[in-house]
Symmetry: C2
Subunit: 223 residues, 2 copies
């Protein structure tokens, strides 16, 4: 953890939330809780053809975010130490005000900015793949572990959780004073992600493992 | 619609999917269907402090994507005609292979790249806000419409759907030949977003409107 990561204090100028600051969140515990619940990071890098943002699987270990997905290949081409931005968003609800100007969404969002480190050591990549796998569902221990050649073909990026901020919006609509008495409804609808029944592959053996068969809703903590 | 937007043909070099090309999708109908179902775009722009990606609400009208959210302010500062990338991802399922190397997610993802146009005309902004509002839930007609000063305070970006591509992954795991007979389970778990009960604000009048009370699951079309 960096020395300037005290609870409630922005880590750097560029991770200071400028808009909707009342919803800004810099406490480590809150940031880690959002990252624990999220499932996909949208990762942006500058390419020769302009900015590019792609979804990537991720996992967290200590104060490091590991990222796995197609953008890792592009970043590998771009060279090490490329500046990236990884954003994890959980949509918690739709907010309907009395006028669309005040419509909003309830959400929790973490933004991480920093230099991507493309991992090259077999052991590091294996550890990162373990972390990313278990972030989705703790299932590493019930699989055949990757071979050396598979690890070699796996692109993983490490991003330090140094310059990180979060934004949280919750609750109902904030109506304009002029609208408070208007004969219109306002409020919010909670949303969450649910899991359906497992679908077994043709070459699957045995029962669906318990950790997969009984997945909890990942974002139950609706605000 | 651009002249080179024939079904199945990449719109430009930089929107040609380079990885997992068998999952690439360039047909207009498929791209519009994904954009219709998605709820949030992750939008990236280059800033003086490196790339930044933030979630934004969006709506589609014809071959234009309208974006609304905090990044619009940053782009307004950066000046018109800034290159951006807007990515809409719908996660449809978690794919468990017999080894984590073959784990995946089922998803539908659209990537749009191009020059952001910050809208300045009151009528254009009103139309865009109408489109964005109705994208989430067709509720514009049951609200008090924004005033001229509210429209003036609204930042909306237009992005042409010219350079656009999609990637779709569906179905079960693709296991390595060596794993097919392994005594391990593999398969996938469908995921979808569901809506909870509406929560009325203290200043809400009347019943919950029908379009809000009876929201369908937005991404029912699980592959």
């Amino acid at each position: 953890m960096s020395t300037n990561s005290s609870p409630g204090v922005p880590m750097s100028e560029r991770t200071t939330v400028r808009r909707g600051a009342k919803r800004a969140e810099y406490r480590r515990e809150e940031i880690h809780e959002i990252l624990r619940v999220g499932s996909v990071a949208h990762v942006a890098a500058m390419t020769a053809e302009g900015p590019l943002v792609l979804p990537m699987a991720y996992g967290i270990s200590g104060e490091t975010m590991y990222l796995h997905g197609a953008l890792a290949n592009a970043l590998l081409r771009a060279g090490a130490d490329t500046e990236i931005c990884a954003t994890v968003t959980i949509v918690d609800g739709l907010v309907f005000a009395k006028t669309p100007f005040n419509h909003s969404m309830n959400y929790r969002c973490v933004v991480v900015r920093g230099q991507a480190q493309v991992m090259t050591e077999e052991e590091e990549i294996t550890d990162a793949l373990h972390v990313i796998t278990d972030h989705i569902v703790p299932s590493w221990d019930i699989t055949r572990h990757p071979s050396a050649s598979e690890i070699k073909a796996t692109r993983v990026i490490a991003l330090p959780l140094t310059e990180v901020s979060a934004k949280i919006r919750s609750g109902g609509a904030l109506n304009q004073p002029e609208d408070v008495d208007a004969e219109l409804w306002s409020g919010y609808i909670p949303t969450r992600t649910v899991f359906g029944e497992p679908v077994s592959d043709g070459d699957a053996h045995g029962e669906v493992p318990g950790v997969i068969a009984h997945l909890p809703s990942r974002d139950l903590h609706i605000r």
